[in-house]
Symmetry: C2
Subunit: 322 residues, 2 copies
């Protein structure tokens, strides 16, 4: 008996995460292949399709549709990549390529939006139709779900939460070209920087010792120090979370989501992160908005992207079993 599935691919700079997912959102199988960056990524889709077709034959699965995510600027309507720097693609017809190789309809979106959609569908969003997903990693990424749909904006840049101006005066210069972006203070990198500065100024003995022994302070050091009760580390963390609470509350004041899902490396701090973030968020949120908004730690880890990819493609799949 052949089972119908959606093929899902989450293309990153190092690996392509692959999965077969049912229309109900159950992962039948998942694995990853290396991202072949040769010749501006021109072989990636061929290798992706080969891997999917080979495995589908082994497992006796019938691929009905596919969803694929990539980091970068995407024209979602056309499934067209303007640029995915980490992967090598530029002006690349991603959906058409994969569709021709798999002979099924294909949808695309950027990886941050798909991670948000995955968490909405099968993760901490728990089906929420109005949701923010925030990824606190090397940078700060995000995805916005409004009325059950991913918000893209006029040129696909919606959800770039990391570039909200959080530090209005004398903020750090960001890669995006302006200063004071949220990700300069609330990403893992931003927290590490604030921690290093505090260590240099000896505002935390704990962090100062780490700096002396290891030559650098990481976000993990700050979070662990804060959780263990080091006052200097806690002060650093709270400076960062004050900015994050400010930016998120202002988004919620305008979008009124039911749920904020926090993911990425920093979110490994778990409930401690939410406990520390919440008072800042509440101070900047309209009282009714503060009441409405739940905060949760992301639940899907690396599976969020492929589940989101399956979610955008699932209405292309006709459910059939033979």
């Amino acid at each position: 008996m052949t089972q119908s599935v959606i093929a899902a691919a989450d293309v990153g700079g190092t690996t392509v995460k692959l999965a077969f997912v049912t229309v109900e959102g159950d992962i039948i199988d998942k694995w990853e292949i290396n991202t072949n960056q040769a010749e501006k990524g021109r072989y990636i889709m061929a290798e992706t399709a080969d891997a999917l077709l080979h495995r589908a034959a082994q497992l006796d699965l019938d691929i009905e549709a596919a969803g694929v995510g990539a980091p970068g600027f995407i024209d979602v309507e056309r499934g067209y990549i303007y640029e995915a720097v980490n992967v090598g693609w530029k002006d690349y017809p991603l959906a058409d390529e994969l569709s021709a190789l798999l002979q099924v309809p294909v949808r695309t979106d950027n990886d941050a939006n798909l991670a948000a959609a995955g968490e909405k569908w099968k993760g901490a969003g728990d089906g929420a139709d109005n949701m923010l997903a925030v990824t606190l990693g090397t940078g700060v990424g995000g995805g916005i779900i409004s009325d059950g749909r991913i918000v893209h904006g006029v040129s696909g840049m919606a959800g770039e939460i990391g570039h909200i101006t959080a530090v209005r005066d004398d903020g750090f210069l960001c890669n995006c070209g302006k200063t004071g972006c949220l990700e300069t203070v609330s990403s893992a990198t931003g927290i590490a920087r604030l921690g290093s500065e505090a260590a240099k100024r000896r505002e935390s003995d704990h962090l100062h010792q780490i700096l002396q022994h290891h030559g650098a302070v990481t976000a993990k050091d700050v979070l662990e120090g804060a959780a263990a009760g080091d006052e200097g580390a806690l002060r650093v963390l709270r400076t960062s979370l004050d900015h994050l609470g400010f930016a998120l509350a202002n988004l919620c004041n305008s979008l009124n989501p039911s749920t904020i899902v926090l993911g990425g490396g920093v979110s490994k701090a778990g409930d401690f992160l939410i406990t520390e973030l919440r008072p800042f968020f509440d101070a900047y949120a309209i009282p009714k908005i503060a009441e409405d908004t739940h905060m949760r730690i992301a639940a899907l880890g690396n599976d969020a992207g492929v589940l989101g990819a399956a979610w955008i493609a699932k209405d292309l799949a006709s459910v059939k079993e033979t």
Copy 2:
């Protein structure tokens, strides 16, 4: 020959604005009646329906559907008013009431969202599917259009742009219960307050004289003084617009609209307002977002609400002529 139309009503605390609108968005007729606030507004819909039916009979129009807006918290799905303070309604089934009276299907939304939808459809939004509308009046109101749809959020509070925290430290107390809201500095009331303070501190001779002669400074005084080249008044205006640019840029950094439509009393300053606002907006926006975002002055005035009301109802109307 009977023409099919959509009946549109924009309920305010003083008047109910009424119109007959074609599915193409042409206003066939418009007029207003007084808002009857007696007994918590219980007669308003009966009087609205009477007025619409009477005029429709006179003009030989066939009402196919209706849209109605009101200020306050609305469950848009059910057409149910939680509370419309200025009108008197509380827990009021607005859509059902009007539908029973007119015997046609009815849709509802709040007045700020409908003004946004009207400007999108027939005004300065020029059909934009991703748009912010901002009303700079007594308060600061707003409506967000994303992917061609009004953004409501989980409890209908989306678009409350006026309560974005703009002044992070030592801001003024707002009616909403928190401090530093955008509307404490960028509404007509907020600009007047900033102007009065500057006048008292004699930071503007122009405003100081107005204060002495009239006992108060208005937003109009500040705008006119600034446009006429009074440096103190210009400084006041720029303080206000710095906050507005900050709040709007951060929204655009997350939502990537093509267009911001500025309406309300303050927008009567026209292009001067945009010229002064733009540099602040650009400083806080991601460079590509600054490029993407056009600013326009609202074009529809008081008609925005009824046109938005017709817009939400138009797919309920079957186009027919007899």
